[in-house]
Structure formats: structure tokens, C-alpha cells
Assembly symmetry: D2
Homo-oligomer: 314 residues x 4
Amino acid sequence: MPTTVQARSTESRPPAPRTISGATTAVAKDLGRLVLQCEDRPRIIAAISQFLSDHDANIVESDQATTDPEGGRFFLRMTFRRDDLPVHLEDIERSFAQTMAERFDDAEWRFTEAATPKRVAIMVSKTDHCVLDLLWRARRGEIPIDIGLVISNHPDLAADVRSFGVPFVHIPVDRNDKPAAEEKQLQLLSGNFDLVVMARYMQILSADFLERIGCPVINIHHSFLPAFAGAGPYERAKDRGVKLIGATAHYATEDLDEGPIIEQDVVRVTHALDVAGLTRRGADVERAVLTRAVQWHCEDRVLRYGNSTVVFAR
Amino acid sequence: MPTTVQARSTESRPPAPRTISGATTAVAKDLGRLVLQCEDRPRIIAAISQFLSDHDANIVESDQATTDPEGGRFFLRMTFRRDDLPVHLEDIERSFAQTMAERFDDAEWRFTEAATPKRVAIMVSKTDHCVLDLLWRARRGEIPIDIGLVISNHPDLAADVRSFGVPFVHIPVDRNDKPAAEEKQLQLLSGNFDLVVMARYMQILSADFLERIGCPVINIHHSFLPAFAGAGPYERAKDRGVKLIGATAHYATEDLDEGPIIEQDVVRVTHALDVAGLTRRGADVERAVLTRAVQWHCEDRVLRYGNSTVVFAR
Amino acid sequence: MPTTVQARSTESRPPAPRTISGATTAVAKDLGRLVLQCEDRPRIIAAISQFLSDHDANIVESDQATTDPEGGRFFLRMTFRRDDLPVHLEDIERSFAQTMAERFDDAEWRFTEAATPKRVAIMVSKTDHCVLDLLWRARRGEIPIDIGLVISNHPDLAADVRSFGVPFVHIPVDRNDKPAAEEKQLQLLSGNFDLVVMARYMQILSADFLERIGCPVINIHHSFLPAFAGAGPYERAKDRGVKLIGATAHYATEDLDEGPIIEQDVVRVTHALDVAGLTRRGADVERAVLTRAVQWHCEDRVLRYGNSTVVFAR
Amino acid sequence: MPTTVQARSTESRPPAPRTISGATTAVAKDLGRLVLQCEDRPRIIAAISQFLSDHDANIVESDQATTDPEGGRFFLRMTFRRDDLPVHLEDIERSFAQTMAERFDDAEWRFTEAATPKRVAIMVSKTDHCVLDLLWRARRGEIPIDIGLVISNHPDLAADVRSFGVPFVHIPVDRNDKPAAEEKQLQLLSGNFDLVVMARYMQILSADFLERIGCPVINIHHSFLPAFAGAGPYERAKDRGVKLIGATAHYATEDLDEGPIIEQDVVRVTHALDVAGLTRRGADVERAVLTRAVQWHCEDRVLRYGNSTVVFAR
């Protein structure tokens, strides 16, 4: 699977995108990120700021949140610049594990390099708007991802996907033997990707699949969850006579449409729209919401805890 | 109950509001409205346009909708000008009943005068934002209503309400004898009002009450229905981690939070807001949504059918 | 130039789009539209409704507006169904010219068939987001247009455009001889199209060109006009520190960025975004605004008068 | 002027507001804020985090921004908890001036106590919507302000304002002797307030007044600046045929409508609204925008630099 759509910026495209808002530098290669969550306690920021300073890393962006400053859960995302980061990152990680792990022994944390795009695979059925928007934005360099594979249970979108230079694999799903299809999907996906995106993939993934996939899975649901979970949300929205329709991007879990929500949005509708009209108008919301969710996830802006998320959006 | 807040416009207030958008005339007294729904069939608009023309009425605004032009349901709202309308309206109605009723024998229809404000009573508990916004807009003349009474199960808002010159009646609700309270409410309300508004009235009205009240009841629910129907919507929104919170104005029916929706809106929230923060931010949406619903209802822009509404909003 | 992108709907695409909201019928071929403006006077709607009824045409959608019911300007758009419309439309037009023209002798009016897509040409420079969104929506059948040609002063987008089966013609613009380029453009455009769309075409069209083109020209400007007319709007938005950025679709006139506005929208921005960030975020607004403007224009929903528009949007 | 509207929360009001989002504690008295801007350079956050830690202050919220990490301007807002803050704040400030001032010798900085509401005076003419919304939110405790005085050049709003227990002073403005009126205003305002809000005060304040007032002045302009600066923005919006109207809250400077923008918003309008309709719909945007600007300013979230602002909004 050598062909990927890489973030790039050419003179014939719009102004060079900066995946780190506010960090307007050409040397993204020296930008690192620390994402951490732990029990809240005094002086976490001071300790970590000192640690980074001791390792010649200068903080350029910092976001934190807490569910409660006294005994709640603490969340942190810091972007820092360190000259020749690729050379030093391993040392920094090792040192953090030794010195900080003792102090914040319950912490979950990771360091990432901003210049390294996430490897992404997309699953889709027949509907093109979400997958095309992701492919197109990846090509423009708006989202820091390499899309390495698109899997579909239908052959319809093969030509569209391949025109972006991205492999398209058709894996039909026999409703009497779904495990066989999932097995084929897992052979292609497991271990090869940092993120799988269900861009209107109209099959339910089994708990077993989600456990074995080994990376987060983001799904787009075509309603404003928790309203209209399950099948046929636009039909049910029409029946109920709602005045706004929406879309929800969330991490897929074994409980259908119940996973942690990353992003949602809505659009106004009226009685004049039938189900087809709601579907068409909703499509614009779906692609916008999914794109933002994938972007924020891939910029390490989304922290999961329980069934919720902290999103340090820009 | 002689004191009411009437639509008015004085030199010290903002530019004179026009309750009929697009009909920028000073002679609102000559503006009438026809609201009608029936089975869809050919040439309804032509027939009614001819009828109005024959009665020297000039159409100045017209909206129509259909669920399906062949065999569906048809909805119409027409605003017309007729010199000396108050003198002629009864004739027009009688003539319509005679000539049109034959042709559209399944139709529900009514004529109203734009210059006649709807008589409105408000029910509220302790929360002030919805009732104050309605009182204030009525005083400014932004909504064509006379607010003649506010009933509350708590005494807290008495001074605020009375400062608008509107009677405030405290009717406590004994949780072991709700029917007694409803009986007192009905004595004040039945037959006296065109509309009752539940402006954050935190008691469930019985089916018996809704049947005997004799006029429509509009309720504001503090969530984006059908999500979070029932109690504690902001708490549940926080638990579910939604990224937008909303409010829904609907006609009250005996099925709690299930009545026809008139208007909805949402506002963006983040993980940084706790339940109190969601509640505060949601309050702004609640008052805006309820105000729009009351305004549109009182301008005869809302047509109910089944459990849905057609809203000819401006 | 035989190859065009036609509105189509296949089983592998989303639910069949209906270009006439609310008119949910399969027989679009029998749907006609009348668009008219004239001096306001009594009984226009009644007269026209009668006319259509007399010609066996059933009104299924009607919108009207007036700048002032007494002596202002009146605007009307009616959608009607007439069996075998293509056979009868010429008769209807002739009859309208004879009978109505007498009565409304100052009127500008036209009849159109809903089933006939507008023939559209697009002009673009290097930026792809607007042209790609139009091509993609035309292919999905969301907008009732046939895109028959894309002209660019740069070769960059040739492959992208041609992948939709649409001809791409590169006409370089020599800054010392713009008239030569316009001459070549006019040879391709004049008489062949119902609408020309400047989808981020970064050259100013001469008054002579606009006069000779013989059809409306819609331009997308990357600011919320009248703010930041002219060059570099995102740079100037950053300098001024605005908290929202926007886009404006308008008819091109010889006065740069001063033509009648069709549609506008904005998106929230913060200090954290540099000019590149504003440009990227603005691109999403630009494509959405331009798409809506083209859709409404091609559904005969936009009526120009003076330097303004009446838009009967859905 | 002893009577003020203080932030308060009683059982009969909505859930207790928290003026510090995310800091959900009852002991606001121990919350402090540091607001700072200086030339950007490495390790500012580490140094300041260490300083606060050394003074037993725990950071609970932190926002920073930079115009450019290498040689740009750096902005910081930190909220911290220190037991018995009122006792210790003076020491902390003195220590900061001694130790940090050396290191960041170009910095502008201040410490504030979150529990201390800002003292606010309001100037208004005849229009009530902005001033009433501020009074009402102050009474609910939604904004951390004490409104101590309302000055108007008209007597109209006296009763409304005084019903909140806030003094109302009528200072007529003779168009031939504005300096006399400003002199009277300055006698009441100078030295007594932290902020003056022009809540639709329809007089231009002189450069001399703005210099002598000795505190920031926030103005609400009824357009989306820089569009329609100056008089009659709704009339001009109607003339230009814009599809959105807006409002802008900005710091007043001697250049009319040119001061640093704090907040803006818009609302959709159509051809169906006349100037009165635009004015009425715009009023809702004006009060919302002004309220947010005042809230953010009073929570020390707005940092001015040049003619721009950094706003750490929640």
C-alpha cells in the first residue's frame, strides 16, 4: 500500500496551511506535543513547564481543563518547540517516564511530533460526500493525515477514490456471514493505521472488530445524538417535525451510537423539506462535522475520559 | 383584570415595530388574515384569490405549503387589505362559509384581524428569563399580544411582573392535591385568553386541564427535543457530553414533551462548562426560542396537523 | 463542447434530489415557473392565479414580496403544474403576453421549465474549492445546472475539472493585453450559456466584457461586503481584528464588488488564526455561499431590482 | 452613590452562576488572576508557573497566545488558587514586580481578584434593550459587575433603571455646548469606575473626555464593523441589500467606530424586512454582543494591543 495522499502545499494551492494554529513557523519538524490526563492536584502545570524547560523545550501552546480542581480529573495538551526534536524526542519521553511518572503515577500521557501525519483508513458504503471531503482536504494539506486505504462494502466509489491516488478495496458484506468480511477488513487494517474513519459506512462493527482493530474508530451519525440514534434518522426527524437537523461524530464503541461525542452541528430546516431534502441538507452538516472531528483528533486535541471527551478546539 | 400590557410605540422607544413583515403601512386596522388547511387539490389558490378579490380585499402576503400536491394536505396563510375591514369582516366570513365551504368541505379555516392582539396568560415557576423577555417585548410592541395575567406556583416573581403593570397571582401547588391547584388556575384562565404560555412552569399539566383550558398552550422545554425529554435535561446533556445544547417550544399535549414542535435552537458548549454553566447559557436560547414561538403563533403563522406544524416564519 | 455534467440520480447516490422543494413529484417535466416584477397595485395575485387556472395550470408554490403595498414594486414567483407542459408552454406565454401585458404594462416577466437545467460556464484561477464543490453538486444532481465549460487563466486545475467530464480551457491573461484574453473568453461564452460563475477568478472583468457576455455573471467575494471590498480581504480582516469573517456572492457589475448581493455568510474566528488560517476557514464559507447563490439563481429564486435582490430562498 | 446592583444568587433565582468557567468552587475569594503581555521569548510559561508555585498558588486555568513565537508579542491569562488570597495578594504582586520585572522588563501585567466585581457605569440615550439586559444579568449574577450609575441624555429610562435600585442621572446634551455636558459626566465618572459602557449612547464622546475618563470605555455599534461605520447603519444595510446584519462591541477611541473590536455577531435577514424590521432584529444581536463583551472584559479575558484584541473567551 505504498500510495498515500500526503499533506502538501504547492504554489498552485491556497496559502500553506499550518496545522498548528498560532504557531506560524516553517519548522513544524521541531514542534512536539504532550497530551496528558491524571487526577487533579496542585502544581501540575508548574512541574511540567519546568520539565520541558529543563529539556530545552519552549511551550508555544497550552490548554488544560479539569472536572474539578479539588479531586477531579486534569487534562493537558502542550505544544512545544525543541531544536532538532526528532533527535531528542526519545530522550525526552524516557526522562518524562522516569521523573514525572513517579510524581503523577496515575497519569496517561503521550508525546507526538506535529510533523508526523496520522495514518488513516476510511470505511464507506455508497455515499460519497464524507469520504470525498476528507480526501480533498488531505490533498490540500488542511488535515495532518495520510489516507492510505479506503474500504467499502460496495464498488461504487472506486473511481472517485482512486483518482486521488488512494487504494480502494471492495470487501462485500454477506449479511449471513459478517465475521468473514470483518476478518478481511482486519487483515488490511490491523497494525497499519493510527485511525479508522467510518465515513457513512452503513454496517455495524462488532465488539470483536473494535477490540482487535487496535486504534480509535471515528463514526459519523446522521442525527444530533442522542436524538434519533439507530436507523433512519432523517425519516424520524421528518415524523417528529424537528426544526433543526444535525450530525454527530463520535468514537465507535460496542454500544451503537453511544460512544464519546467529539463534535456536533445542526442546520435549520422547515416543513417545506421532505425526507430527501433533509438528507441532502444534512449531508453538508455530516461532512463538516466529520472533517472537524478527524482534524481535531489528528492534531491530538481530543482526550477521552469515561464516555465523554475534552476537546481543545481551535 | 383590567390592566394589560399593550403593544404600543412611543417616540422614546425604538422605531415603530410592524407586526406584519413586509406590510409597511400604518393602517394595520385594515389588515386581515385567512388561515386555512384542507386536502390538497387543484386551483385552491386561484379560487381563494378570486374570492378575496370579489370582496375588495387585496392580497399583500401569501404563504402556502403542501405535504404532497397530489392527495396531500394543503396549508395557506394569506394577509389581505380591505378598506374598513372591521366593518366588513363578518360579511366576508359568512360569504366564505357559504361559497367556499361547499367547495372545500373538509377545510379548517379562520379569519383574523391583524390589529387585534392575542390575549395571553403566562404560567411560570421561579425562573425569570422567559417571562421577563415576553413582558418586555410585549411592552415594546414587538409581539402582538396583550399579557393579561401571570400565574405562578411560587411568589418570587411577583414584584418583577407587577412592575410591568401585569397582575400576578400566586397559586401554590400541593403535590398531594394538584387537581385543586389546576381548578383554581382554570377559574382564572378558561374563556379569558387566546393562548397560555408555560414560560418555565415546572409542573406537569394534566390531560384534564389541557382539555378544559379551551385554548392552545405553548411550553418551552430546556433541551433539543426529542433528546433529553423529561426532567434534568442539562444534567443529562453534561453526562452525555453533547457539544450543543438547545431549547424547544412546542404545543403542550397530554404526552409530556411530545407535542407538536414550533421552534428550536441550539448554542455551542464545551467541556469547560459545568451544569450551572450549561443552564446559564441555555437560558438565552430558551427565551429566544419561546419568544419566536409565541410571536409566530400570535401572528397566525403556525398551523398544526397531526403531531407536526407548518410554520410560515419571517 | 458536447460533454456536460448533467443532473442525474442513480441508485448508488443519495436519495433522488428534488430541485423544487416541497414539490415532491417525479414529473418535474410538467412543472413551470412564472417570475414577474412590476409596480405594485391591487389584485395582481388574483389576476395571475385566474390566468393560470384558465390555462389548466395548478399553482404548487407561490412567493411574493413588495417594497410597499401602495405604490412600491411587486415581485412574484409561482411554480405551477400543467399536464404536458412542454407542449403548452409557448401558448401560455403568448396568451400571457396578450392578456396580462395590457394589464401590467410595466411588468418584466418570464416563464421557465423546471426540468430544463441552466447552462453554466465557470471561470476560475488557481483555487479549487469553489469550482470543485459546484462540479460535485452538479454531478450529484443537487443543483439544476449543466456545467458545460471551465475557463481558467492558469492550467493548474485542468485534471481535476476534466475528471468530471467537463471541458477545461486555459486562456492565459497577459496583464498588458487583457482585452485579447477577454476576446477569447467571449468567443467561447457568448450565446452559449445562461449563467457565468466566477468561482474565485482573480481577474477584474471589464465593463465591455460584462455587456457583451449576454447573461448574468455571479461572483464570489471573500469578505462580508461592503466590508473589505477590493484586494486582500483576509489580510485586512486580520489587521482590523474582526471576530467573524465572511463571503459574499453577488452579480458582477462594472463597479467592482458593488453589484447586487445574492447571499452572504460568516464564520467565527479568533486571534489564534493567522492570515493563512483565516483564508482556510473562509474557503468553507466561500464555497457554501457561492453554491447557494448559484442554486437559487438557477431555480429562478433571485429577482434583481436596482442594486438589490429579492431572494425567495428555501 | 451607595446603591449598587451586586452579583448575587438566591434560592429563587437560577442555579448559582460561576463567574469563572471551569473553576467550580465556592471559594471564589481565593481565586486570583494574572494578565500579562510582553515580547515573546522562550520559557515565559515555565518561569511564571514556577513563580506562582513558589508562592503557594495553584494554576487552575491558563490561556496564552502569541503573534509569532519568534520575536512576536506574547499574551497570558492565568487563574490561580491561593489560600487566603486577599491576605497574600499584595505580597505576590510586590514579589512579581521585583523578580519578574527584571526578567520581563517590557511586560505589562496586573493581578486581580476574581471575587471583586468591576465597578461599572452605563451611558445610554433612549433605547432600552442593551441597558436592561446588562442590569438584568448583573442582578442575576451572570456578569461579575456592580452597576453603580446610569447616565442618560434623555429622561426616558429613569423608571426602568431605578427599578433595579441603580441611580439614574439625566444630563441633557446641548448640541451647542457639548463640553459642558461632558464636564458634568466626568465629575460623576472620573475615578469612580473600572469601566464605562456606552449601551446605545447616541452622542460622540470627545478625545478629551476619553483621555480624562481614566478607565476603558466599551461601545456597541449597530453594524458589523468595518461595514457601515458612522450614522444610520440599518438604513445603509437596507440600501446595500445585505443578507446579514450585525453588531460590534469595541473599545471607544477618538477615531469613531475604529477602536479595537472585542466581539461581533450577525443575524440573517431577508428582503421582507424594512428598516424598522432590521432595527428590531438587530437589537437582539446588539444586546447579546455587548453583554458578552462586558462579561469578557470584566473577567479579564480581553487584552488590547495596537488596534486589536486577544480575547480568551469561554
